[in-house]
């Protein structure tokens, strides 16, 4: 059973009417397979949201630590005037995991706003990809998007990739995208260890700091759980 792969293929659809607001949080911790990449869940999920009403809001928050392969792109179709879409994501991959996740923000209505914060952490021989689309249609005057994608690599056999698509057809829109890739600096690690933290705890602490902008969007009890999960997922990735 553990050597085989199982498929999880869920569909989630959200619709928000006038002044409605939906916050959908996921902490995903399916079996990722063993260290050699045997077994694990294929997590192929369809999630989409429509902000139909004026001032409606859909906020996706996800912490993806499990599954052998994750493909998941929760979207927001921002139709209602002044509607808001948010996507906050932490994806951690270790060993042979692959995570390819991101979002689609389709701005149709006036003064629509979207925020994307995606943090990916890759360790072991894993690959982690942010793939996302921001599209501003001609009627979406006053639309705003801000995207921040940061990747952290732990070890030299993993990969971290950022593939954003930005399509803007409205001059009265503002789109900003930023992405960085880095590793945990030796300076940071050493600083923590000098203060008495084990290397593993130091990595955990720094990774949690790296993800803070996303974790703070989670409900309290989830956030605590998520922090622990991050630490567990990265076990054995340093040293």
């Amino acid at each position: 059973m553990r050597d085989e792969n199982q498929l999880h293929a869920a569909v989630v659809e959200l619709v928000a009417m006038d002044d409605a607001s939906i916050k959908y949080s996921t902490v995903q911790n399916w079996y990722p397979g063993d260290e050699e990449g045997r077994g694990g869940i294929y997590n192929f999920v369809t999630k989409r949201g429509a902000c139909r009403g004026a001032r409606s809001k859909i906020s996706w928050t996800q912490v993806e630590t499990g599954s052998a392969i994750t493909w998941k792109y929760p979207s927001c179709i921002l139709q209602g005037e002044g509607s808001v879409g948010e996507f906050y994501s932490v994806a951690v991959t270790n060993n042979c995991q692959q995570a390819d996740t991101g979002t689609k923000m389709i701005h149709l209505g006036r003064n629509t706003r979207s925020t994307i914060i995606a943090k990916t952490i890759s360790a072991g021989r894993s690959d982690s990809t942010y793939r996302g689309l921001v599209r501003v249609q001609p009627k979406a005057s006053g639309a705003r998007n801000f995207t921040q994608c940061d990747s952290l690599l732990i070890g030299d056999r993993c990969g971290a990739h950022t593939v954003p698509y930005i399509e803007c057809r409205n001059m009265a829109a503002r789109v900003e995208h930023e992405a960085t890739t880095s590793k945990i600096s030796e300076d940071q690690l050493f600083y923590c260890r000098q203060r008495g933290l084990s290397e593993e705890d130091a990595v955990g602490l720094i990774v949690n700091g790296f993800c803070r902008d996303v974790l703070k969007e989670l409900p309290m009890e989830f956030a605590v759980e998520a922090q622990k999960l991050l630490q567990i997922s990265l076990e054995g990735s340093v040293g």
Binding site: V136, P138, S151, L153, I154, G155, D156, R157, C158, G159, A160, H161, T162, V163, P164, Y165, I166, E167, C168, R169, N170, M171, A172, A173, R174, V175, E176, H177, E178, A179, T180, T181, S182, K183
Partner: protein
């Protein structure tokens, strides 16, 4: 059998691809028949369609051309920046070397593809259909070589396209630039013309260790022309490939750079500016491959889009596992001047090494109302205020062109375009 649907507009070349001889060219034809010319279903061409090539078969250009018209294009370029007149130049008309318009350089060796065809090593037909098309059909081109330790100075490579009423044709120059170790060269490529034609140059570049090539390309093609320039550059240890592309005139423009940092402490800059209006489409695509440690890549591309113009930026930075201590930076910004203008951007990082510093950014927006108001409140008329702000937006990026004459030429062409835009 070439199907127009699967093979893109390859059927426009059917008759010319028959009966081609030579191993390299035949392999290229085979590659083309396998892959076709790209459609928008191909990821690298997601935002740019070759439909602009039209429906009629594209023949080889006629051997004779309008000498007066060619001279006029040359004079027009030189009048925009007269300091260039004193530089050596290689002039091509509809893809063939025009000795009567050229002034051969002294410090560098130039041979011509038509005399001694060499296909180079970096541009591979099986990876890239436009390179394959070029390989199959290449007629002529400049092969520029700078010996070790030699400063080749500045050289103008002017490709003139002259459309002919009622005739659809294409030309496929194959250029090569080889800098031996510690050599230097400033190469100013101007692609200028009038009317309709398809210009598909491929430039194969090798920058030796410690060598430095500044490569400025201006796309000032004919109003109905399609200009696709593909550059493959290999940079050796401590070499610098500093490229700048300016997209201004043409129906469809694409400037595509594949730069490979093959040995440590090499550097590439892939900068550019597009200033488009009407229903122009301009595409700046690049793939920068870090294949060795301690290399640097820098990219700044700015787009100013008016009318119904569409700008495309695709920039991929690939960092291989071996390329530790990579320092990569990429920034793409667009200014939309009209409600119908569009920008499509795909900045992409693909990273397999952990000890790297890579970042990219992209922004899209309109002119800043507050700044515009400030200028106007000081008495500057609106049109001029807009022009000032557009120039300010492009200024820093143009400042990245080291060769003063090339920079001045780019600025002059942008001012012209701005004036044309305001009067339209």
């Amino acid at each position: 059998m070439i199907s127009p649907d699967r093979n893109g507009p390859l059927n426009l070349f059917t008759s010319r691809l028959e009966g081609i001889t030579g191993a390299e060219r035949q392999q290229a034809v085979a590659a083309l028949q396998r892959a076709g010319l790209p459609t928008r279903r191909v990821e690298a061409w997601k935002y740019t369609a070759l439909r602009a090539l039209g429906q009629s078969s594209l023949s080889a250009p006629a051997a004779l051309y309008d000498a007066k018209a060619a001279r006029a294009v040359l004079d027009d370029v030189l009048s925009a920046q007269d300091s260039l007149a004193s530089l050596p130049r290689l002039v091509f008309v509809n893809g063939r070397h025009a000795p009567e318009l050229s002034v051969l350089p002294k410090a560098v060796t130039v041979t011509f593809f038509a005399d001694t065809p060499r296909f180079g090593t970096a541009a591979a037909p099986d990876r890239d259909p436009l390179v394959a098309l070029n390989t199959a059909l290449a007629e002529d081109g400049a092969q520029i070589q700078v010996e070790a330790g030699v400063d080749g100075g500045a050289l103008v490579l002017l490709s003139i396209g002259l459309g002919v009423q009622g005739s659809a044709f294409s030309f496929h120059p194959r250029h090569a630039v080889i800098l031996a170790s510690d050599a230097r060269l400033e190469l100013i490529c101007v692609q200028a013309g009038q009317g309709a034609y398809f210009h598909n140059p491929v430039t194969d570049i090798s920058v030796g260790s410690g060598a430095a090539l500044e490569h400025v390309t201006l796309q000032l093609e004919g109003a109905e022309a399609v200009g696709l320039g593909t550059v493959y550059a290999d940079v050796a240890s401590e070499g610098v490939y500093d490229s700048f592309a300016l997209g201004v005139d043409g129906l469809l423009l694409r400037h595509e750079v594949h730069a490979r940092l093959g040995a440590s402490r090499a550097a590439v800059h892939v900068n550019g500016v597009q200033r488009l209006g009407g229903s122009q489409v301009g595409d700046m695509t690049s793939v920068i491959t870090h294949a060795a440690p301690d290399c640097i890549s820098r990219q700044t591309v700015r787009n100013v889009l008016d009318g119904h113009a569409r700008g495309v930026f695709q920039g991929k930075v690939l960092v291989e596992q071996i390329a530790q201590k990579t320092d990569g930076y990429q920034m793409n910004q667009a200014l939309l001047l009209s409600p119908d203008a569009e920008i499509d951007a795909k900045p992409e990082l693909e990273i397999y090494a952990d000890d790297v510093r890579c970042s990219h950014g992209a922004t899209v927006g309109a002119l800043d109302d507050e700044q515009l108001f400030y200028l106007r409140s000081r008495g500057v008329p609106e049109a001029q205020a807009r022009q000032i702000l557009i120039e300010a937006f492009l200024d820093e990026t143009l400042g990245l062109i080291s060769h003063a004459g090339a920079q001045a030429l780019c600025r002059a062409m942008l001012t012209r375009k701005g004036a044309a835009g305001e009067s339209a």
